[in-house]
Amino acid sequence: MMHAKGLLKTFNPGTPIENRVLRGLDLHIETGQFVTVIGSNGAGKSTFLNAISGDLLVDSGSLHLDGQDVTRQNAWQRAGLVARVFQDPMAGTCEALTIEENLALAWQRGERRGLGRAVKAELRELFREKLSILKLGLENRLTDRIGLLSGGQRQAVSLLMASLKPSRMLLLDEHTAALDPKTAAFVLELTDQVVAEGKLTTLMVTHSMRQALDHGDRTVMLHQGRVVLDVSGEERARMDVPDLLAMFERTRGEAITDDALLLG
């Protein structure tokens, strides 16, 4: 379960480039729910995800993960609760380390790291097994540096890393945006599989309305740092891309008029 209440975040406050990115964002996600997030560029989607992961701390508001108040916790303190895949395939893995070393890092996400060997024989076996699910032949390349893999392969490994250990929240920020259509489809399919298997509470940002409706069981739209649209269940099942697009345009227009009213 994730509960965000009244999140505020302003970049460069008090300067000419002041940017109020989150403006009182409320969102409640039940355990096991898979939510897709849409919204135009600069709507605050990535900022919201960074606030959940702890990559940045909000100015005010509160954030609970499974009843735990994590509002003031750093990213590394929350890592046991939150797993994520970044948009940039380079960001989620360590290029200079091998595939097995990257997986070993993820295997201990949020745990104490001691002086024991990071990659043990039995772990290697487990990694091989998990990698074979990807059907990319990576199970035979455990000691290859991850920098040698293609973007799609790295993203698939990132996803595997994010699901290696149970988490309360899986964050996916346009994690297929940097991939070619075929690879993107493959990684998305893998995402559905991983989420279903782990019954993971998931937040997936995408720019594709199609993806937003086809995956998950609820869709929210962010605009100017707030949730302006929230559809699920029957209503969502009956929706098609044009409907969503129409709502997207309508709410955007309304939000703008709202602001105009407030200002006027």
Partner: protein, 300 residues
């Protein structure tokens, strides 16, 4: 070059292998440009010299020197991660502060250790000619032990976390690694090794001198760069090996250059030679790549 000067160069090369391993941790693994070495090397020397002169066991003196070095590295890291002072600047601050501290520790600009016991003296005994073999031998054992321990550490969970911290801090944090703690630990480890180098240095040189740290960081960096140029590799145990060899080769090269009378180099030209050497090592990979291209470009 005489055998004595050859063994002397090997000896100093081995001492600087420890320094180079320390520099490898800060510059390469943590990605933390750290100049503390110029202060932590003489700090190790000062602590060891004062303790040995005071009648303590030389091994205990080495351990104390490492602790002192670790503290220095920790302070540099702390200035950076807690007070957000730029890495280079933080290390310069500590380096400057250490100059005063080292003088305080020694109580005078130099401390003589002539005739005092050292980690080598039990093996040398009464036969002073043995020193030529014993000193490099003991040093080699220490360097090999340090290298193997480092390799083991960097294959451990905590060591892997440190490598991830240097390579991709955001990813490291997302995996629950406290990057701040990793940097503090790593910098302490790095400067402990450098201080150990200083502690052993004063025991081979028969005393400590306040100016003994000048240029330590450049020599350490030179060794790292020479190592990675001669044996380029991604695997960590090869990298540590290359670093050790780089330090030894560097000192041998310097000894050769200085002993060849026809070149006319003198001890004071050392820094110039170092700069040229590091410069060469830096352009070598680009030159190699160019050469390969030219060869491929003109199939015979």
């Amino acid at each position: 070059m005489s055998l004595i000067s050859l063994m002397g160069a090997l000896e100093i090369g081995l001492i600087f292998a420890l320094v180079a391993l320390g520099v490898l941790i800060s510059f390469r693994i943590l990605n933390f440009p750290d100049l503390t070495a110029d202060g932590s090397f003489p700090l190790g020397g000062a602590v060891a010299a004062i303790m040995i002169a005071g009648g303590q066991s030389p091994w205990l003196a080495c351990a104390a020197a490492m602790l002192a070095g670790a503290a220095a590295g920790w302070v540099t890291a702390w200035l950076n991660v807690r007070l957000n002072i730029l890495q280079l600047l933080a290390s310069i601050l500590v380096m400057i502060a250490l100059y005063s501290i080292n003088l305080r520790v020694m109580g005078a600009p130099n401390v003589a250790l002539i005739g005092s016991p050292t980690v080598f003296s039990p093996l040398i005994g009464e036969v002073s000619e043995r020193a030529m073999w014993v000193q490099p031998g003991v040093l080699a054992a220490i360097v090999v032990a340090a290298k193997l321990l480092l390799d083991a550490y960097f294959a451990s969970q905590s060591g892997l976390a440190m490598r991830a911290t240097g390579a991709n801090p955001r990813m490291a944090r997302a995996q629950g690694i406290s990057t701040n703690r990793a940097i503090l630990t790593g910098m302490a480890l790095s400067n402990a090794l450098i201080a150990l180098g200083g502690a052993l240095y004063v025991q081979t040189q028969g005393g400590a001198d306040i100016s003994m740290g000048v240029g330590t960081i450049v020599v350490g960096l030179a060794a790292v760069i020479i190592g990675e140029t001669l044996i380029p590799s991604r695997s960590l145990w090869v990298i540590t090996l290359a670093t050790v060899l780089g330090a030894i080769l560097y000192r041998l090269f310097i000894a050769l250059a200085l002993s060849a009378d026809f070149i006319g180099l003198q001890a004071q030209d050392l820094n110039l030679v170092t700069a040229v050497l590091v410069g060469l090592a830096l352009v070598l990979p680009t030159l190699k790549a160019k050469l390969r291209k030219t060869v491929k470009g003109n199939p015979a």
